[in-house]
Amino acid sequence: MDYNASVPLRLCAQNALIETLHQVGNASSVHYAGRKLRSLIDGARHSILQRVGAKRLIFTSGGTEANALALSGFGPVPLLVSAIEHDSVLKSAPNAHHIPVTSEGKIDLEILDKILSSFDKPGLLSLMFVNNETGVIQPLQEATRLAHLKGWKVHTDASQALGHIPLSFETLGVDVMTLSSHKCGGPSGVGALLLKEDVHLKPLIPGGGQEYGMRSGTLSAPLILGFAAALAEALYEEPTAVERLSSFQQKIEEALSEAIVYGKKDARVAHVLCLGMRSISAELQLMAFDLKGIAVSSGAACSSGKMKNSHVLAAMGVSPEESACAIRVSMGWKTREDEVDTFIQAWKNIYAQPMVKEAS
């Protein structure tokens, strides 16, 4: 139940990846081996572009690098990011102005508009499509429209949105968008940054000049083909997956009436739940769940080793004491109903166990 950290590799991605791993060559070479690989990569590129409604993309080593490139690529312009962005956005923009969120974990468009007006020159707005901890969907299309009216460029980290909510680069209107392979069931180690054709970014990694000069380094065809296959399947299965996971989400929420569900009142994706268990620390919960063979997390995986309080919940106005008792449950293409039932039962048991309560 920790799909937002990493999703098991889809079989189709595994097959594409393994098949391509047996191919020899460097996609930048002119001889047969290179040309073959380049045509495979081009095929994967077009497949992704077509499915997400974009015209251009550059492959990166993952969502984190794509975010870092997007945030630095426009040069020294004013940066505006939501307070609930993933760490890879927040750390890439240490001097950025933060947009607050409501107690339900969503940005307020009126406040955004005011903040945009307070700058004397336009810059870059980075707003995630779906929050990785609460699953709350941000009003991206509207925010983009507001930002564009004032001459701003817009980046979105759509890592957690892909396959969980209809997504079209063109319709959303953003200028750059981050996609992650392993969050949609592809291999980790690869991601992409979608770009409008008029966007040119200053490279983070210059060198051989691959990827329109915006990102150098030998492309890994197996990872890219695995990514494309996973993305295709994730989008194909999206309607049924959303229906199935929504029913799981609903089931958990109904069964656990004592739990606090963060962001409950706003539109959320179906696969994430941020659950608070009163007065039982997340650390204790995690240990108890792990003993029962259930994997959950107390926040983003990247920071879960540190067990620090969630900046997302803090931005929603949740007190540190309360936020220390929140866990993240995330589901995916392999999650079964009996696993959900096991989780519900485990949650109830942990909550009911007086020993655990005392220990905390």
């Binding site: 070479s29 002119v30 994997a295 997390s297």
Partner: protein, 404 residues
């Protein structure tokens, strides 16, 4: 019977070793988990596999595992080493020394640093492709923060005197970075003995997977970096992003294999290389080796065939996957900047082929490749008026060509 082209482009990339593949595959299929998820067993297994791999990478360069960070490849490692060190120490020092024959990604990183106000010295190389240590010494100042000299050149395979460079740098308290993408697994490397402070490694140049590399960052005396990719704070804060467990396992296994087999493989490649080169020399005149023969990895030959157009020759030997320069820039028809830096004239630089031998090259392939190249060079020369003139003893340089 050879049914598909013979692969002789091992400096561009190496095929992933089937044994490496076999070790990696379970991590793609079974043992999933984000190695950074500390709170559950899936994450722990992944973390353990990644740490084993880190130790394997460290071992091949005689480093401590805590000094190895994983990246997306050598291009990123080189970028991180150069920009990371430059940015971190910029308040005290602002000068970097590198060399004109470095890989494009090192040169490009330097160019970006120049734009940001740093001073860069590009050392020339001697006609054999190796830097002059005296010139290096002369270039160092009290503002120099870093010397970046590649271990093995990607086009001409020459080995730079790493231990000597390391010694000079250490004495002056200057960090020494080496791009060892072409060297790891091919020549013995020892970061302690060679006084190397930062070292870049590529997975796919040593029979591992593409999409992963590593950077060695010395702990004592400590080298500090400003991260290029920030976020979750993985890799001791020097490189954020979810690590790919299978890719880490792959590069680890590739290092372990390369280390175990290095001695034997070196001898085998030397024999293959000599067999090929001697055949070429015995059948063709006016063939010139670019770069030093002795200070060179056995898996590389870079040969100019006078009066033969390199691209034409490549077209003529379609059954061979060879290149006329580095892969990144091989689609361009410009003569190689590496060969130009050796003082090879433009006409001659245009006639060169890079031939790379590696783990899966067989004697039969080498023989067939030599035969095809010899036949094609003869054919092209027979059609060439320049060759005829040169045979007739005319010095082509003395001719005043009429403008058209």
């Amino acid at each position: 019977m050879v049914t598909r082209p013979i692969y002789l482009d091992y400096q561009s990339t190496t095929p992933c070793d089937p044994r490496v593949l076999e070790i990696m595959l379970p991590y793609f299929t079974e043992e999933f988990g984000n190695p950074h998820s500390r709170s559950h067993a899936y994450g722990w297994q992944a973390e353990e596999a990644v740490e084993t791999a880190r130790a394997q990478v460290a071992k091949i360069i005689h480093a401590d595992p805590r000094e190895v960070i994983f990246t997306s490849g050598a291009t990123e490692s080189n970028n991180l080493a150069l920009k990371g060190v430059a940015q971190f120490y910029k308040a005290q020092k602002d000068h970097i020394v590198t060399c004109v024959t470095e890989h494009k990604c090192v040169l490009d990183s330097c160019r970006h640093l120049e734009q940001a106000g740093f001073k860069i010295t590009y050392l020339p190389v001697q006609p054999n492709g190796i830097i002059d240590l005296n010139r290096l010494k002369d270039a160092l100042t009290d503002r120099t923060v870093l010397v970046s000299i590649m271990a093995v050149n990607n086009e001409i395979g020459v080995i730079q005197p790493l231990a000597e460079i390391g010694k000079i740098c250490r004495e002056k308290g200057i960090f020494f970075h080496t791009d060892a993408a072409q060297a790891v697994g091919k020549i013995p490397l020892d970061v302690e003995m060679m006084n190397i402070d930062l070292l870049s490694i590529s997975g796919h140049k040593l029979y591992g997977p593409k999409g992963i590399g590593a950077l060695y960052v010395r702990r004592k005396p400590r080298v500090r970096l400003t991260a290029l990719i920030t976020g979750g704070g993985q890799e001791r804060g020097m490189r954020s992003g979810t690590l790919s467990t299978p890719l880490c396992v792959g590069i680890g296994a590739a290092c372990a294999m390369a280390q175990a087999e290095m001695g034997e493989e070196h001898a085998r490649l030397c024999a293959l290389r000599d067999r090929f080169y001697n055949t070429i020399l015995s059948e063709l005149e006016e063939v010139y080796l670019n770069g030093d023969f002795e200070q060179r990895i056995p898996g590389n030959l870079n040969i100019s065939f006078a009066h033969v157009e390199g691209e034409g020759l490549m077209m003529g030997v379609k059954e061979l996957a060879v290149s006329s320069g580095s892969a990144c820039t091989s689609a361009s028809l410009e003569p190689s900047y590496v060969l130009r830096a050796l003082g090879v004239e433009e006409e001659m630089a245009h006639t060169s082929l890079r031939i790379g031998f590696g783990r899966f090259t067989t004697e039969a392939e080498v023989d067939m490749a030599a035969e095809k190249i010899i036949r094609e060079v003869h054919r092209l020369r027979e059609m060439s008026p320049l060759w005829e003139m040169s045979r007739a003893g005319i010095n082509l340089k003395s001719i005043q060509w009429a403008a058209h």
